[in-house]
């Protein structure tokens, strides 16, 4: 893979360089600030396409790997790499960022330079999260990403923006702290095993070959620390209430990135960390998590149905759709898992497009309330046609992207847990209900508010955004093997790691019992002494 050695580093830090360059521009020169940011993000997208060229289909491991010492005294490495799971998530990030920049073209009027710089910093954080293979590095990117998002909502949002931003950051931080504890614990364990490291592949292999022994209750606690952080991010019911607020108050670009990419970090984390690190806990927790996911699918769909605010409705649909993804991950079946990865991408594009349309309506009317909308298809036929198209993609119409992911998840789930699949499939009815109803309340019937009568239809810039998203939606709906073939090797490798239901406790503790490690001996003696005292 010569020649691609630095690709991931370049992809990660190019946006940051862009952000710094942006700072050199005059703050009043809005035109060039926008043009430059767009240019940088498009270059980033084009560069990310090189990943496809060098990516090997047969290799289930990490590719484009980079490995350097970063903080040697703490055994922290700069370890980057992509596999079939993160590959398309990086592409999704670099694809959505230019769209988010384009859609903010005329809707940001204050602190324009800072806004676009924040978007680029955010992009760096997101790409970094998907590339990082060192737990510490991952955590750094994970946290770095929160800061620009916090400001995007808190500064350029609307309504109760500070409340929403604070809620977003506190919720996420709560999870992050637990994850940090988990990361440090794992580091400690690797140290006990004689090879202190934050390196994810190293820790995974140490766990698998028994170098690190993990008693069942420790595994469960560690699993909980990680899964909680990710479940908040997804969000899994009932940890979802930050999401409607954050989405509703965020600027359009923020919502697009938030729904399109940030939510995927939760499900990505489950695939990348929870499953390979804690297979037994994953298996044991699967019924609980799947149940929560299914509740989320149905519950969020019903709550979405009765919203009076278009954007809040779309926000709730995310909870419902991501429920499918979580379900697909926790049935441990190749079809369902690839469906879940595919559905992450689909949701990014489809819901991203829905938010883009919401933003375009907001730019004209400065409201998302259904009572202020209605009949918009008359003044804005083109925009509403795209809106309907996005709805159809989101409600999983065959030949559009959403269907493929949802159907694969259902097929895979049904093989093991028919009841789960049946419950989840009711989501398909409900999604038609809430989306078509939302469309009717926005676009159909007579115009009831006089202001809406002469709204301008989609501008060329807006058409460019919507057409781009639509092309991707159709492409993903028709040519899915181009994507799934690149996921095959990785999902198989991952499932092999997790597939064996007997976790470390059963596999390794028994032989370990004969030769307990120093650490365990110490623990034992403490317990023994305490018991002996009275």
């Amino acid at each position: 893979m010569a020649g691609h050695n630095y690709l991931l580093t370049v992809l990660t830090f190019f946006p940051l360089a862009g952000a710094f360059t942006l700072l050199l521009l005059s703050g009043d020169d809005h035109v060039w600030i926008r043009r430059f940011t767009l240019f940088a993000s498009v270059i980033e997208f084009i560069m990310s396409l090189f990943l496809l060229r060098g990516f090997s289909l047969a290799d289930g491991g990490y590719q484009f790997e980079e490995f350097y010492d970063w903080i040697p005294s703490l055994h922290i490495h700069y370890h980057m790499g992509v596999d079939g799971i993160s590959l398309f998530l990086i592409l999704l990030t670099t694809f959505l960022t230019p769209l988010a920049i384009l859609c903010s073209w005329n809707s940001i009027h204050e602190h324009v330079k800072e806004f676009f710089a924040m978007l680029l910093v955010l992009e760096m954080g997101m790409v970094g999260v998907f590339c990082a293979l060192d737990l510490f590095l991952f955590f750094v990117f994970w946290e770095v990403m929160l800061i620009p998002m916090y400001f995007l909502i808190g500064v350029w949002g609307h309504g109760r923006k500070v409340y929403a931003a604070l809620k977003f950051i506190l919720y996420t931080m709560f999870g992050s702290i637990l994850m940090l504890v988990g990361i440090l614990w794992l580091f400690h364990l690797s140290g006990v095993a004689g090879n202190p490291t934050f390196d994810l592949p190293a820790i995974v292999s140490m766990l698998h070959n028994g170098q690190i022994s993990l008693p069942w209750h420790s595994e469960l606690l560690l699993f909980l620390a990680f899964i909680l952080a990710f479940a908040i991010k997804v969000p899994v019911f009932p940890l979802h209430t930050w999401l409607p607020d954050a989405h509703t108050e965020a600027p359009t670009a923020g919502s697009v990135i938030l729904a399109g990419v940030l939510l995927k970090m939760g499900t990505y984390g489950m695939l990348r960390f929870c499953l390979p690190l804690f297979p037994e806990a994953s298996h044991r927790a699967a019924p609980v998590i799947a149940t929560l996911a299914i509740i989320g699918i149905i519950y969020a769909a019903l709550v979405a149905m009765v919203q009076t605010n278009l954007k809040r409705l779309v926000a709730y649909t995310s909870v419902s759709h991501l429920g499918f993804v979580v379900l697909g991950i926790f049935v441990f079946n190749p079809t369902a898992m690839e469906g879940a990865i595919y559905q992450m991408l689909n949701h990014g594009v489809s819901t991203g497009m829905l938010f883009l349309v919401c933003g375009m309506i907001y730019d004209r009317r400065h409201t998302y309330e259904f009572s202020e909308l209605g009949g918009l298809a008359k003044p804005m036929p083109v925009l509403c046609a795209f809106f309907l198209f996005a709805c159809l993609s989101s409600l999983a119409l065959p030949m559009l992207n959403g269907f493929i992911g949802e159907f694969m998840i259902l097929i895979g789930t049904f093989e093991h847990h028919a009841a789960w699949a049946i419950w989840a499939a009711t989501g398909a009815i409900l999604s038609a209900v809430y989306l078509l109803w939302a469309y009717q309340r926005t676009a159909l019937e007579k115009v009831t508010v006089a202001k809406n009568e002469n709204l301008p239809d989609a501008s060329p810039r807006e058409r460019l955004i919507l057409i781009t998203a639509s092309i991707v939606i159709v492409f993903m709906g028709v040519a899915s093997p181009l994507f799934t073939h690149r996921m095959d090797a990785t999902t198989n490798a991952l499932l092999q790691q997790v597939g064996d239901r007997t976790g470390y406790a059963a596999r390794h503790v028994a032989p370990q019992a004969a030769q307990p490690t120093q650490h365990e001996l110490a623990l034992h003696s403490v317990k023994f002494e305490r018991r002996a005292q009275p």
Binding site: V303, V306, A377, F414, A418, I422, A425, P481, T484
Partner: protein, 653 residues
């Protein structure tokens, strides 16, 4: 063998027309729209003709042809779906119906829609509909069938809510999509289960595997019965059978050609097609067969009774469609798949004709659809009247008209077939009486009697030629469309059944094997049955004639006298109201007032904000401890010392 080797052309033509019209047609004059949309559909029909010619030139050894596999559409794990098309006898029949009737309706629409806004949009959506319907019938696996299945649902949504500024139209479109989606929920699970059972969703693999499975008992439901019942749920939604038929009457909000094409001739027949296509599965699941037959029979009767009391000319036809689809289900349910498909075809001719003629009436009346304000139109629009009368005779089962043969065959098989069911035969026969009755009621109310509209304001005029020509062609087919089976009446061969035999032979042989005591009924019985059916239909005609021609004042009196029964029929048994009160409104109420406002905002978010509030308040409290006051610090030191001492004492004890 050009088209046979390039099956995709038949799909690509309407798709190209649709895309071209949609993307470029907005600023075109109507002429160009006609050229691109109607043109492509005519081309599709011509390529179908070529396809049929090539197909008939094949020798029997070449059939079934292997499916044409174009690309892999989905693959993950052991799951794989190909975009693969196939042609067999059943497909040839269905393709013919879809392309031919579709083409006529496109031509008719040129006249009918000429003055409507969104002309290009209408034709783009109609073309798209053709594309999906053709995908549905040409698909060689269940998932691709589902693509067409959902696709026609989408087009139906778009076209029903074509006049989207009307609330009723927007509501009706949404209702159609959601109601059929409820059925599709079952259909989806059915596909999942089929994949789980057979390890593939290709017809070929599925049917081969199912044919080797044992026939399941009536009382021991196995996997096949479950799959069939789930697939049936989808068919019930799409083909508007009990209890999911409620969307179809409302679908009359769409322009009349849409009603003709989608809600009579093609889309709603998808359910029947699917059941016929899955005949191998169904014939191994007698319980599912019985369910199909019962649903079909019950729907045929139920919808016919509602049809008796409707005043909107299109609503009468809508209920008549539901009723006739019931016949097709009945046919499939008793194992007479060929008869079901036969009725599907003849029904496509005469029902498309009925709708188009009704459209012509509405056109002539300047938009009036209520038959109470029509009357005496016979002389003013003779072509429309003539063709509509032909269609009415056909649907009522007048001898030698198309509907006579197909309906007769269904009733005959219900009475004397291998899976005969005398009760369902009786139901079907009674529904035939009602059919003749409500159809002639429609004719008499519309075309006979004195005009009941304001003759000074409504200028009744015959429709333009572009609308009349399709009517005449369909009228001819409504007469001769059933003559394939004519020879059977003097003991000859049933050409239609013979043609489809390769598709259904497995099931018919199996049925014969399962009922060893059953023997081929004698030819004389067939003639007797036909005579009975005609007699019954004639009684229906007589009732209508007596009520609406002989004693025109009587229906009102009768309606008043029967009171609640009439009101019940007029209001369609209040089923819509029932669904609203039992399902829809409670669901919305619970979602809004319990799930959203209590659980989401109150409970979950309340807890989160409560924790935030508590931590802020406790932080405030703790802040006060750092007062800078030495004495208070000293007090805290003492408290701490005591606590530590207590802890150690407790530990050492």
């Amino acid at each position: 063998m050009f088209i046979l080797n390039h099956l995709w052309i038949i799909l690509a033509l309407p798709l190209a027309g649709s895309m071209l019209t949609l993307l470029a047609g907005r600023h075109w004059p109507q002429k160009y729209v006609n050229l691109s949309s109607v043109g492509f559909v005519v081309l599709a029909f011509l390529s179908y003709c070529e396809l049929a010619r090539e197909f008939f030139s094949l020798t029997a050894a070449h059939i079934p042809l292997p499916p044409a596999d174009y690309f892999t559409w989905m693959t993950a794990g052991n799951f794989r779906v190909d975009f693969a098309l196939q042609v067999d006898q059943l497909t040839i029949v269905m393709l013919g119906v879809v392309t031919f009737v579709g083409m006529l309706i496109h031509i008719y629409s040129v006249g009918y829609m000429a003055h409507e806004e969104g002309y290009y949009r209408f034709f783009a959506e109609m073309n798209l509909f053709m594309f999906f319907m053709l995908t549905l019938v040409m698909a060689s696996n269940l998932v691709l069938l589902f693509v067409g299945w959902e696709g026609v649902g989408l087009c139906s949504y778009l076209l029903i809510s074509f006049f989207f500024q009307k609330k009723s139209a927007a509501d009706a479109g949404k209702k159609a999509f959601i109601t059929t989606r409820i059925g599709d929920f079952g259909f989806t699970i059915g596909i999942l289960m089929a994949f789980w059972t057979f390890g593939s969703i290709d017809y070929k693999t599925m049917f081969a595997a199912a044919a080797n499975m044992p026939v399941e008992g009536m009382h021991q439901w196995g996997v096949l019965t479950s799959i069939c019942l789930l697939l049936l749920a989808g068919a019930v939604g799409k083909s508007a059978q009990l209890p999911l038929y409620v969307w179809l009457p409302d679908a009359m909000e769409g322009p009349t050609p849409v009603s003709a094409l989608i809600h009579a001739a093609t889309m709603v027949t998808a359910g029947v097609y699917m059941v016929a296509r899955m005949n191998v599965l169904f014939s191994h699941a007698p319980a599912a067969m019985l369910a199909v037959a019962i649903i079909g029979g019950a729907t045929a009767l139920y919808a016919a009774t509602i049809g008796l009391a409707q005043n909107d000319i299109k609503k009468v036809l809508a209920y008549s469609t539901i009723s006739q689809l019931g016949y097709m289900f009945l046919a499939c349910g008793v194992g007479a798949y060929a008869a079901g498909i036969f009725h599907l075809m003849t029904h496509a001719f005469f029902k498309a004709l009925l709708f188009l003629a009704a459209g012509s009436v509405i056109h002539a009346m300047g938009g009036q659809q209520d038959m109470q304000y029509m009357g005496g139109l016979r002389k003013k629009i003779p072509w429309t009247f003539g063709t509509m009368l032909v269609a009415t005779l056909a649907i009522s089962g007048a001898p030698l008209f198309a509907g006579f043969f197909s309906k007769d065959e269904i009733l005959f098989d219900a009475y004397a077939g291998a899976n005969a069911n005398p009760i369902l035969y009786g139901v079907g026969l009674f529904a035939a009486l009602l059919t003749a009755c409500y159809m002639f009621r429609l004719i008499f109310l519309t075309f006979y009697g004195k005009p009941r509209y304001d003759e000074h304001h409504v200028h009744v005029h015959e429709s333009p030629k572009v609308m009349l020509v399709p009517l005449v062609i369909l009228a001819i087919l409504s007469v001769i469309g059933g003559w394939f089976v004519l020879p059977t009446y003097w003991g000859g061969k049933d050409y239609f059944k013979g043609f489809l035999d390769p598709v259904f032979s497995g099931s018919t042989e199996l049925a014969a094997k399962l009922h060893p005591s059953w023997t081929e009924p004698p030819h004389s019985l067939e003639l007797t049955m036909a005579a009975i059916a005609v007699g019954v239909a004639f009684v229906g005609f007589l009732i209508a004639w007596y009520l609406y021609i002989r004693k025109p004042a009587l229906p009102k009196k009768l309606a008043n006298a029967s009171g609640p029964v009439y009101t019940l029929l007029l209001n369609k048994y209040y089923v819509d109201e029932l669904y609203g009160a039992v399902i829809i409104r409670p669901l919305i109420w619970i979602s809004r007032n319990v799930l959203w406002k209590v659980i989401d905002v109150g409970l979950i978010d309340g807890t989160v904000n409560g924790v935030a509030f508590l931590s802020r308040e406790s932080g405030n409290g703790l802040r006060r401890m750092q007062s800078g006051n030495t004495r208070s610090y000293a007090a805290w030191v003492i408290v701490g010392a005591v606590a530590v001492t207590v802890f150690f004492v407790w530990m050492v004890r």
